[in-house]
């Protein structure tokens, strides 16, 4: 197994006819992902890349194709609505790639989703990859924008707020021969669907995941919350890296998540909380894989 998505997971793409969504849908198809439908209102009836039918609505796409997971590539002004459309259509997992959704939109999306059985990952995230068994990990399920070939089917679960730092961790564990069970970017926005803690719980229960790399950054308290739970409940070794040791206080560094103020959410406070929970801290981003390997 792996978590959340498997090689046979049926995926639909909201915003498949846009340049960005289209580009990454093609890469996912090349990777071997079961992209069964696309959705763009007004473009129903088209066929994407000679093989993927496009629908006007998520509901229609789900009825026709049995897709259970949706990736959202819809532009920011319409992304909140797109997520809720997928929720209404009974999609199990929505992966919102879109960067730049207004915070109040996400606040309403999160409140509307309360009590729903749909899980949201993101927004502003690189997505999720469960590597496959083919050459360069092809044959797996790639949802989002991560480079597929850096993965390798294996035993490490990777969870991160940042996209490119996820790729670093993936690449390092691939080179060490460990490979990954599933890699998840939860996104850098202040309000997101799935937390570090949610993913740690899933990894802890997944028999294929034998160890975990958790990547955090300054701001918020999500890493501390995950660490507090892991201390007593997680049976698997965890290595972590926290980005932002040198970031000046009070400045926003790209991710809305990366804001620190008044000593709360600083890199040192986070590292302390993680170390206290028995999590091994990688001192540099180049040592994430090696730090984990030492625990095994």
């Amino acid at each position: 197994m792996s978590i959340l998505v498997q090689p046979d997971t049926k995926v639909l793409i909201q915003g498949i006819t846009g340049g960005f969504g289209g580009q990454h849908t093609k890469l996912s198809l090349e990777y071997g992902t079961q992209v069964v439908a696309g959705v763009t209102p007004g473009k129903g009836g088209q066929v994407f890349a000679d093989r993927v039918p496009v629908f006007n609505a998520v509901k229609d796409a789900v009825e026709e194709t049995g897709a259970t997971v949706s990736a959202v590539f819809v532009p920011p002004p319409f992304a909140g609505e797109a997520i809720l459309e997928a929720v209404d259509a009974g999609i199990e997992l929505v992966v919102a790639i879109t960067e730049g959704i207004p915070v109040t939109d996400m606040m309403r999306v999160a409140a509307t989703m309360e009590g729903s059985s749909t899980r949201l990952i993101g927004p502003n995230c690189p997505g999720i990859v469960t590597p496959g068994e083919g050459p360069q990990s092809s044959g797996g399920c790639r949802i989002g924008i991560a480079p597929g070939y850096i993965h390798k089917k294996g035993s490490v679960g990777v969870v991160s707020r940042s996209g490119t730092l996820t790729y670093e961790a993936v690449w390092q564990t691939t080179q060490l021969g460990l490979g990954q069970s599933t890699c998840i970017g939860i996104g850098g926005d202040p309000i997101n669907g799935t937390s570090h803690l949610d993913i740690l719980k899933l990894f802890n229960e997944d028999p294929e995941t034998e160890s975990i790399i958790m990547i955090g950054e300054i701001g918020g308290a999500a890493e501390e919350e995950a660490a507090a739970w892991a201390k007593d409940n997680c049976s698997k070794p965890i290595a972590a890296f926290i980005a932002g040791t040198t970031a000046p206080a009070g400045r926003r560094m790209g991710h809305a998540g990366a804001i620190i103020s008044g000593g709360k959410g600083t890199a040192s406070a986070k590292k302390e909380a993680l170390a206290d929970a028995g999590i091994a801290i990688a001192q540099t981003p180049a040592e994430m894989g090696a730090t984990l390997a030492k625990l095994l």
């Binding site: 207004p102 996209g163 309000i191 308290a221 932002g244 040198t246 560094m253 998540g257 008044g262």
Partner: protein, 393 residues
Amino acid sequence: MNIHEYQAKELFAKFDIPTPKGKVAESAAEAHAIADEIGGQVVIKAQVHAGGRGKGTFKNGFQGGVHLSGNADEIAEIADKMIGQTLVTHQTGESGKVVNKVMVAEAVDIEKEYYLAILMDREGRCPVIVASKEGGVNIEEVAEKTPEKILRVPIHPLSGLGDNQIREVSEGLGFQDDIAGQFAALLDSLHALFIACDCSMVEINPLVTTPGGQLLALDAKFGFDDNALYRQPEIAAMRDTSEEDPREVAASEYNLNYIGLDGNIACLVNGAGLAMATMDIIKYYGGEPANFLDVGGGASEEQVTNAFKIILGDTNVKGILVNIFGGIMDCDVIAHGIVAACKQVDLGIPLVVRLEGNNVEAGKETLSKSGVNLIAADDLADAAQKAVRAIAA
């Protein structure tokens, strides 16, 4: 994004939040006219995006960015010493900020100072009201030493601000009778403004009661959600780029995310998390990062060229580290950007490049064929060490 005090006042007026009478002036004559119009004691305040104005010093020697006077001629003289001059406060840094405008406002008699803010609470996933009876300049100390004096009331994300929440805050601040009525209207308006303008924070400090029984917002600070500026053209138009780091302004024109720092190793990275981590690893190996620079997900050759120009505009920079892990980004696009930039700009300093990800082989080939003098690195640790070593040489 920040706005000036006078702009905050204009926004408050639009939402019927009471503030002292006052207007903004761009010349001594205008300041004189406003002081005449208001009559009596007025306060004149330099308009810059920085705190500590009252205790600041102008580079022409004039003391203080905030003054009181009952004489319109004197207000005009003070305005003359402020406008066009550079004010240095503990928040501006040594270079200070040029004052282009001053605000002239009625000097209000204060009975008591309160603190009131609404901000987006990421943990609670909703706006939260933060209020205290102990308003004024020492609010941060109050929050740290006596957190029980800070009231926090969450606002429901869908149903909005309810009367019960207004009552809770009003009672917590000890308001009664007419003032409680004024406060209910003010808080309701403040929430309406917060939502309508996509604020991340709106803070009134101090909120004051006057001996005459009036409730007034004396000073305000705003933060706006940058993601929502596309639907807030009026707010976006309030941006004053003369208040910002010129390098950051130039970067934003090319959709680059740049923040200048004090070190000497410049970095050019894709992704905010990796950009922060690159700064961290430079520091770890004994160097000092000169900047944070995230070229984002879909950087073009032109963007990369401009990123290089911005980096090289910082005279402290003694070396450059390019760190690209291409997920979305094609490494060959970065490589062409680097080559194009080096042909346009006389580099003259060491350049360390680490490329990984999409189309990396083509990118490496583009670099090696170009004849550009650079130091290739295998991985992040190697790149950081080579950059630190290169500038030490």
